[in-house]
Amino acid sequence: MASSQVVKVLIVDDDNFTRRIYKTMLFRFCFEITEVEDGKNAIQQFVDGNEYDLVLMDKHMPNMDGVEATRTLRGMGIPVKIVAITDDASSKDTFMDAGANKFLLKPLTFSMLTDILKSFNFLN
């Protein structure tokens, strides 16, 4: 886990209202949430020394897509849990090969999120 006890989540999605939905879901767990609009900014978060426990990663984003961002993070040796969340079913293998831990198809529901959090032991 990241250094503090609070679970820290990074939402990476270029869609404003998708990020709003995820934030509202995650607020229910009192997690600390950061959001960025693309893969490049996601990488920058880690380059700046920020630590996260979980990344929710979209695929299609400007500047750097989710697959490339995932690959880059793994190349940097960042062990954070990455959950790919996209409506592009064909990208599953690519995402998993890039180093994603899980792959989910949009739309993300609250129960899907809860299951993922439980699987990573983020819920007590």
């Binding site: 270029d14 869609d15 404003n16 209202f17 998708t18 709003r20 939905i21 949009k106 739309p107």
Partner: protein, 160 residues
Amino acid sequence: MDYVHLRRQAASLRKGLFDQGYLDEQFYQLEDLQDDASPNFVEEVVTLFFRDSTRLMANIDQALDKCVKDFNKLDVYMQQLKGSCTSIGASRMKTECTAFRECCRDENIEGSHSLSILNLCMRSFQKIKREHSVLRQKLESYFQLLRQAGPVECATRPNK
């Protein structure tokens, strides 16, 4: 003011949106996220959706206006729009987005800017714009009724 009547009108409008296929199950997910901590969550998210989708559709309009059409770019825009529609439960819009993307793929296969495929794409996009406009009007009316009706005393979920 007859708040009961207003709530019934809102409920009826909401039911119509589902019965007529404008909205799907995903919208229930959004409603389930609304609580005391986020009392206007659904309306906020819907407002964001229409703001973002309007911008995306303007990009698509511009891309379609160009003499040399970049169908790969159009497909990317449409994928974004479709993703947004999926997240909010805008079912009919999502269907039309899928149809448009199939046109783009047909165009890429043809590779010769066939007029019939171009026309199909344009018509498909007009349908998306119509669905977008209708959904927006209906949801705006729905939220207006909810605001007029005021908060409900008991937190009961309307029947699906």
